[in-house]
Symmetry: D2
């Protein structure tokens, strides 16, 4: 079993680290928030006072941070972690960041003989807690083979998306489609109801027909249609609208990089920003439904 350093114990990182502990891995952890480390200490993790201390002697580093600048700050530069890790260390970078940023960290790792995988997740805090996350992974197949038991302790679907940065690209593509179909579902629900249909009936017809999609299957945005969906719990829980806006922004960065035209994805971003201006950024992203009803 590997000695693992886990950096970043936020809403996602904490339950992911806990699942690694449950699977029997030895963990040194670091986060700026002491309470998060304390919580895991009670379950067997070893708190440290810096990322460097956590990583000292680790065979594997797992990081889960908010944005590109945190990841670049952690790994790059003369004081960065990559300058301290031994060649042969395996780095699993699970944050959702810009593909270009991921490629920059990959290059720096490669120059030091360190195998790095960009491995963003989907599945939200519920998936993190249940150990059912989806990992979309960019980097070399050999490194993924070595890392697989670690990923499997935290997730259910482990996809090899392609070379360096491919995990991030797959993630933004997926989340862009998700955002668009959430909005498309919400506006169709509102239009159907405004034209006299029962929400549950319309939802079921579309779910079983060619309009079927993941939001209709698992996550209907109309309150009351699905008992356990965030929409039926005041749009609490789930995946915050402001995080969806962040991912859609990363998608637009990728589109800018490749000159891709993504009219639906671009519009989704603008609509989520309208929602954020209404103060709904902390609610589940299905709250976009409220744009379309009075």
């Amino acid at each position: 079993m590997y000695q693992i350093a886990f950096i970043g114990l936020g809403h996602m990182g904490l339950p992911m680290a806990r699942n690694l502990l449950k699977a029997g891995f030895a963990l040194k952890v670091f986060d700026l928030v002491q309470a998060a480390m304390d919580e895991l200490a009670g379950e067997g993790a070893l708190p440290t006072s810096s990322a460097a201390e956590a990583a000292a002697g680790a065979q594997v580093v797992v990081s889960m941070l908010p944005a590109s600048r945190h990841v670049e700050g952690l790994y790059l530069g003369a004081d960065g972690l990559l300058a301290r890790l031994k060649p042969g260390t395996l780095v699993l970078e699970c944050s959702t960041i810009a593909p270009e940023s991921a490629r920059k960290v990959h290059q720096a790792a490669s120059a030091r003989g360190i195998a790095l995988l960009d491995a963003p997740v989907s599945g939200g805090t519920a998936g993190a807690a249940a150990g059912t996350l989806t990992f979309m992974i960019g980097g070399e197949a050999a490194a993924l083979a070595k890392a697989r038991p670690i990923f499997e302790a935290m997730g259910k679907n482990i996809f090899h998306a392609g070379p360096d940065g491919a995990g991030q690209v797959a993630k933004v593509c997926n989340n862009q489609v998700l955002a668009v179909q959430m909005i498309a579902t919400a506006e169709a629900m509102a239009m159907g109801v405004a034209n006299g249909l029962e929400p549950a009936v319309l939802a079921e017809i579309m779910r079983q027909s060619s309009g079927g999609n993941w939001t209709l299957e698992k996550y209907n945005p109309w309150p009351g249609v699905m008992e356990n969906a965030p929409a039926s719990k005041g749009y609490s829980g789930g995946f915050m609208a402001e995080l969806m806006a962040k991912d859609l922004g990363l998608a637009q960065e990728a589109a800018q990089h490749s000159g891709s035209s993504t009219p639906m994805g671009a519009l989704a971003l603008q609509l989520y920003r309208l929602l954020l201006k209404q103060g709904k950024g902390k609610q589940d992203f299905s709250v976009v439904q409220q744009l379309f009803v009075e």
Copy 2:
């Protein structure tokens, strides 16, 4: 077994009528195109020289026509079919038309004591041939109970969407979501590939993740990803882009009627019209992929 009048033997109506014949129903048929009637005559149908002649003595009328104006022309007015049918006749109006147009025909039927169901289908010509169409039905439950064996001879999923016109509303809601997610999938495929991913890998990751939708499941727009999808056959077969534009136009009529805001659906319509301007209206609607590649 009912005596059925079947009006409208186009790409959809012909195979639907054929399935009724196979199921043992007695059919009198009418279409302006003699060849279509001749084809069915060889399979047991009785050709007629007018809709009125086909409907004379029928217990059930099934119609499958191109647009609202044809349906209104067939049923309404002093010379219309509703003025000739006996009270108690059952009318299954399967065309895809504006919900308001459907409600107008419903009212006229109701005034004459005729039970009418608006019952648009999805599933395309392949579903019509295989008898696996989805019917979305508006009207009274009692009429639907009576009509069920007829629908089941032509389709697999028989949904009662709600009161008069509800079938049309459900259809336009469903097809609007379908169009949006087709475009969203196409633009994400193009962006992913432009950023270095293998199309089949990206398609599979999204299909199994929260970006999953019917187009990723059955109908991927990127050539070669799914062997049997229209995209892999030069965008032939399937459901023509110009018909999707028609349905999106009906959705906008419904949205206008209810004052609904549907930014995604409205944008989908405009993008399909751009495609039509490029002369691609007769190709399968997944040809929208070509907007996003050079």
Copy 3:
């Protein structure tokens, strides 16, 4: 001087009729609201109890009604005004309605030997009061020549847009561009201010540069930039957002009729509908600015 029947004394019709009185025309007027007729009676108009009574003996009929259905209701059918007017009567139909609806009324008028002009206006209630409206006119040049003195009593710019219905087409084209550039200006103002610019400075730079447009010239949506603009008066006065939504809906009907792709116009309509859902339909249409600020 002609004997004129004026039908429809709403926010626009009342001041328009008043300007005709001031110019010396003899007016019989009709509106469902007695108070409106009373107001004009004090200025010399003759109130009547029906449109037919107002029109009896008139050489010219002017109508200013809310929507297509009112116009069709007034003129068409066995009881309609066209059936009662003498051949040779001149009809100036100033309502903003669907081009197709206008063409229908034109045809009926033509069949009766009545010269009709579709003549929608822009300029709002302020322009109606000041007699500075813009008229966009469809129909025959000879009829327009005859009607010109009447239009000039109510407006400043009298455009002959083309044949029957062309006035309505020009109007929806113009108002679609207006709505789009109002939104474009509002989102640019918000983005510029969020990035540190003074609103008045940004507004002036764009006004004098290639971003210049009518809204920057006369009607800036940012409060305080233009003292007399509705934005500086709590978005009161001016042209109501719900009327802009109506005009954008008419534009989409015209686009549907011709199969035109209008991505900007379609998006503008959806954004105005979002605004209406927020209860802002009665405010000036520049209130769209509030979508883009917190």
Copy 4:
């Protein structure tokens, strides 16, 4: 008269430098393309073999480069120009780049006691040749006062947009509005013509009405409406569609930075990218008209 170093002699820089020569300034110039320097040498400029050589001894540096990375490459870093210039030098950075990039260069200049102005232009190659450019300028008023004679030799409208970076913000706001109203005008022209209007008549009506904007005034996208517009010359000359796409991309970067929602601007970018995929990036940006006609 100042000794000026002019860096970057492309389509815009060359005529701008020429106008400085005409106004009597002494110029040392540098560009990677020898021919551009040779051309100006005949008019009195002194070619050099590097930016550093051009800048040696100069009181003023003017730069006109393609993108953020060129500007950062020129000025920043241990080898960058800012490290070599004497405190008190005045730098006029006229490239169109990201506001954030401009601020970075401002900070580095400020740290060295160098006065820098971000001063992007609008007006295209025609305005550069005629000396009628518009400058939108960010930085300190004192520096602008000193630089004014230089700007006036190259342009007509000299706007002080605000503090460091404000010139770039004003530029992207303006060009975003410009792109949106160009597309809005193009789609309205196409819709109007498809509904029977004469293009020149429709253009004139909108120009004089509330739909009026700079494109209708100077730059109508419909061929033949304005004799001298690029649309009437095969969409040649003017401002290339790919440059508009670049500017719209910079606007989206600014919107991302401030979390601004710009649905119209975002859609304009996506439509220009569709146009680029059709191989029309080198044509004038009014070629967007062709998206909307068959």
